[in-house]
């Protein structure tokens, strides 16, 4: 279980997280909220990339904030929103780097690590990409590689910051299905940030709504992703429709166009 309490974080120009608190028991949790709500900052704080100014983060009862870099990264795997890889490493080399927390820095990875990296590629069915240069891959393939790297890292908690950004329609669903499989088949705890409420409804068990540095609502996806909540969150009039037992969010439209609420924020302001 992931537990976050009273988490605060500030950049030089102001507070980004203000007393964030939530807990994720199991499955996939999703951070949903407008740009600038603090989703990425929250994920980076949990990943250990940023150091929060106050608060607690616990994974299965152990405090992540009091751990060193290495210890924490054995428990938490993180795939960032943007690809930092600028040298054409092969896909296998990239996935092997996921073994870093388990590797002696002066010796580098051994056979056991290579085997685990290969198994991560096998689990995602992408062994055919192993020798390809990472930088030549499509956006969707790159995402899958980063998921494989997170898997090779063997964290109990997997963090994916906007894993669907810049992907086409098919790849968005492919990536989310793969992430869903990790939670369901491997029993991993997963936290993602998303922009599309429909994807949250389709793929996530728990949803946390974020606005202006706070988690303003949380619960089962179907309970939290409601028309009223979304309107308050994004300032857009929406309708929920049901197709074959699945719920979908569509924007409300009249003759004058989309119903964009100028005083967006509503009761969450």
């Amino acid at each position: 279980m992931l537990l976050v309490e009273g988490l605060e974080f500030s950049y030089q120009n102001g507070k980004v997280l203000e007393g964030v608190g939530f807990s994720l028991e199991s499955g996939i949790g999703c951070l949903l909220g407008p740009n600038g709500a603090g989703k990425s900052t929250l994920i980076k704080c949990i990943a250990g990339v940023l150091q929060p100014t106050a608060g607690r983060i616990e994974l299965n009862g152990a405090s992540l904030l009091s751990m060193g870099f290495r210890e924490r990264s054995k428990l938490v795997s993180y795939a960032p929103q943007e690809f930092g890889i600028s040298f054409p490493y092969t896909v296998f080399e990239v996935v092997l780097m996921g073994r870093n927390p388990h590797v002696n820095p002066l010796e580098g990875p051994g056979e056991d690590d290579e085997e685990k990296a290969w198994k991560a590629l096998e689990a995602l069915g992408i062994t055919d990409l192993a020798e390809k240069p990472f930088t030549n891959l499509s956006g969707g393939q790159k995402r899958l590689i980063l998921i494989a790297r997170a898997l090779a890292q063997e964290g109990e908690l997997l963090l994916f910051d906007e894993p669907t950004s810049f992907l086409d329609f098919r790849n968005q669903h492919l990536v989310l299905s793969v992430i869903g499989g990790l939670a369901k088949d491997l029993g991993k705890l997963v936290l993602v940030s998303l922009h599309d409420p429909n994807q949250a409804l389709l793929f996530c068990d728990t949803v946390f709504l974020m606005r202006e540095g706070k988690v303003v609502a949380s619960g089962r996806a179907e309970d939290v992703v409601t028309g009223e909540n979304l309107e308050a969150l994004y300032g857009v009039g929406v309708r929920l429709i049901e197709v074959d037992g699945l719920r979908f969010v569509v924007p409300e439209k009249d003759e004058t166009g989309l119903n964009l609420n100028s005083s967006c924020g509503g009761r969450y302001r």
Binding site: Y89, G98, L106, P109
Partner: protein, 314 residues
């Protein structure tokens, strides 16, 4: 890797018998032995250590700053070391030990200033690059000022020749002290080749993968600066080797630093040896080493870039 070690050994061996004074390895008298062991061998050892060290510094900075065109002078080390040497020549009567000592010291001072300055700009790599550019420009300006002030008949030629770089007149005594920082720098970076892979992903991903980024970044910059300062102190400003050698090594072994680091060291050592062989044989008088490395390095870089473009175009 054995192939590249063998290639380097061949270059090393041939370099022993290249020069204005030619003789057969099978027929050597006392004079030939002295030339071989006391003149050519120290020079070849120095060229090997410097080539390897400059190449590894270039490779480290390329990885650390995610920039294919980074070279050993990125943080102003070479410019600082050059100023140290010029200062010694300007103020004192020419004393090689003083020149080398001040040069080494100012190389390290330059990187420390760059490090401290970067804190003003921001803690990340961008801050370091900007601070490095500023420090490099500052020390280059001081070198320019020193040249302007120097006595044009006595000190100015000494300064200019020193800045052009050379291994001429290198003896064992010159290498004895500086081989320590050079070897520490080379072995240190070879040991840290796996963390270098992780650092090349950028701060955010490296931290996510559990690397203590500030510690390893400081360590690798320190080791690189140690090597570059010692190199510049021994032989003056040698350009291009540190930039080009890692790129040649990438063509041979790929981008994974586990293989790339040792390969870059061997390529750098071989390339600088070949350049030095050319410097002492192309013309009756020795050519300045810095000029030869630039003449050789520039076309190699263009060839590599052209090859890469060809791959992309395909």
């Amino acid at each position: 890797m054995k192939r590249y070690l063998l290639a380097y050994a061949v270059v090393f061996f041939l370099s022993l018998f290249v020069g204005r004074f030619t003789f057969s390895p099978l027929d050597m008298g006392e004079i030939e032995k002295t030339i071989l062991l006391d003149v050519r061998l120290p020079r070849i050892v120095a060229a090997s250590l410097l080539g390897a060290s400059l190449s590894l510094a270039g490779l480290s900075f390329q990885n650390l700053f995610k920039n294919h065109l980074a070279g050993p002078n990125l943080l102003g080390v070479t410019s600082g070391a050059a100023f140290g040497a010029v200062l010694a020549i300007l103020i004192f009567t020419f004393n090689p030990y003083l020149v080398q000592g001040l040069s080494f010291l100012f190389g390290l001072v330059a990187v420390l200033i760059a490090w401290k300055l970067s804190r003003l700009v921001g803690s990340g790599t961008v801050g370091l690059i900007l601070a490095g550019i500023a420090v490099s420009a500052f020390f280059s300006a001081l070198v320019g000022m020193a040249k302007y002030l120097a006595d044009p008949y006595d000190k100015l030629p000494t300064i200019v020749f020193w800045l052009l770089g050379s291994f001429a007149g290198i003896r064992w005594t010159d290498i004895r002290f500086f081989s320590v920082p050079l070897v520490v720098s080379i072995l240190g970076i070879i040991l840290l080749r796996w963390p270098l892979n992780i650092l090349s992903l950028g701060d955010e991903e490296a931290k996510g993968l559990g690397l203590n980024v500030p510690f390893y970044r400081r360590l690798i910059i320190g080791l690189a600066a140690l090597g570059v300062s010692a190199s510049t102190a021994i032989a003056g400003m040698i350009s291009w080797v540190g930039l080009v050698s890692p790129h040649i090594a990438r063509l041979l072994v790929g981008h994974d630093n586990r293989a790339l680091v040792p390969a870059s060291a061997l390529v750098g050592a071989s390339l600088l040896l070949i350049c030095d062989d050319l410097a002492r044989t192309l013309t009756p008088a020795e050519l300045p080493l810095g000029v030869v490395t630039s003449l050789v390095g520039a076309p190699i870089l263009v060839a590599i870039l052209a090859r890469r473009r060809y791959h992309v175009a395909r």
